[in-house]
């Protein structure tokens, strides 16, 4: 993996991204803006399931309002994230935080897709109250996205955060 990262770091594509001075900050800023959109959109859906927000709307209406922003946002973050990784592969791949973040992102995407599908069915069958399971899933998905956000920042501080567990040692 380190060999691949080192090779990628030396490619023309990687050098091109790194040498345009404003590109990495621009991509990181877009990444952060999209975090706001995806996290808050997921939070809106979760708060609806918990009966704390938008209770004047059906779950289907809330899902239709925010799901496109979640999916498009995740797509944009995948694109900006991929370019950022191509720019500095050694920096990302040599951290525990990055790999944990990728694992949790995959879990988050899968969970959101399954959760959305099953809750839309549940909402049609019993539109008034969601089950304890559904509410727990809502909280867990938000916690998962919070962990992803923390891990994203931890990439730059991998040794300080993980100590001897960091892949950087």
């Amino acid at each position: 993996m380190h060999g691949f990262a080192a090779w990628l770091q030396g490619t023309p594509a990687s050098n091109a991204i790194k040498t345009v001075s404003w590109l990495v900050p621009l991509l990181q800023s877009l990444h952060i803006l999209t975090i706001g959109v995806v996290f808050v959109s997921s939070l809106m859906v979760a708060l609806r399931v918990l009966g704390l927000m938008r209770t004047d709307e059906s779950f289907e209406a809330v899902w239709s309002r925010f799901a496109p922003w979640i999916w498009w946002g995740l797509g944009l973050m995948a694109a900006t994230g991929l370019i950022l990784v191509v720019a500095e592969p050694v920096r990302e791949f040599s951290t525990l935080s990055f790999w944990m973040k990728m694992l949790l992102v995959a879990s988050g995407v899968t969970s959101t897709a399954l959760y959305g599908r099953s809750l839309r069915v549940a909402a049609r069958l019993a539109p008034v109250q969601f089950s304890v399971g559904a509410k727990t899933a809502s909280v867990l998905i938000i916690v998962l996205w919070l962990a992803v956000i923390f891990l994203g920042r931890a990439i730059a501080y991998d040794r300080e955060v993980w100590g001897s567990l960091s892949l950087r040692t």
Binding site: P25, L26, Q28, S29, I32, L33, I35, G36, V37, F39, V40, S41, L43, M44, M53, R54, D56, E57, R65, L146, I149, F150, R153, A154, A156, Y157, E160, V161
Partner: protein
């Protein structure tokens, strides 16, 4: 007390010392700052988009504001606290950083924009609360808000790339590199 000594005092206070000396403090505080800041942006975007008539005018503006703005304010105070800790840790560096100063201006602009909107256009909200297009002033306030908050985030990222580096070499300084 003048400004430079105020900056020194802030940088020497106990929370600032803790931020500098604790290994885990800075990454955690910074992550909280980014998370809360992103939440401010995400929640305010929902309000601003409603002012711009997106997705439609069905949901009442007052209801959207009432639901979202408490989240926005909560996230803002968390972000502000984390930001103050980060500032205190390296007050001198941030104070002199152009991107930081511009970010503070953008934040001030966002606050002024919001205050003007709530003090003027919003007073007549009952006339355009739902099913009716928001007045031009309201739409402008929404668009301005989005632009300013996007700027805040871009400038914030720019601080990370310029802090500690944008200093002016005093005149008549002779730099002699011996290799």
């Amino acid at each position: 007390m003048d400004l430079p000594s105020l900056i020194e005092t802030i940088q020497a206070c106990a929370p600032a010392v803790w931020m500098r000396t604790s290994v885990k403090a800075m990454p955690i505080v910074e992550a909280i700052h980014v998370l809360a800041g992103a939440t401010v942006f995400g929640t305010i975007l929902i309000v601003d988009l409603r002012l711009l008539g997106f997705p439609d005018a069905r949901r009442s503006v007052t209801r959207v504001c009432q639901e979202m703005l408490r989240l926005t304010w909560g996230a803002f105070f968390v972000s502000l606290t984390a930001g103050l800790l980060m500032f205190a840790a390296n007050a001198h560096t941030y104070y002199g950083n152009t991107a930081f100063r511009l970010k503070m201006l953008a934040l001030l602009g966002a606050g002024v924009n919001m205050a003007i909107f709530h003090g003027t256009t919003f007073r007549s909200v009952r006339a355009w609360d739902r099913s009716v297009p928001v007045p031009l002033a309201g739409r402008l306030a929404g668009a301005t808000s989005i632009l300013l908050w996007v700027s805040v985030i871009f400038l914030a990222r720019w601080i990370g790339f310029t802090k500690g580096y944008d200093f002016k070499i005093p005149a008549n300084t002779h730099i002699d590199f011996q290799f």
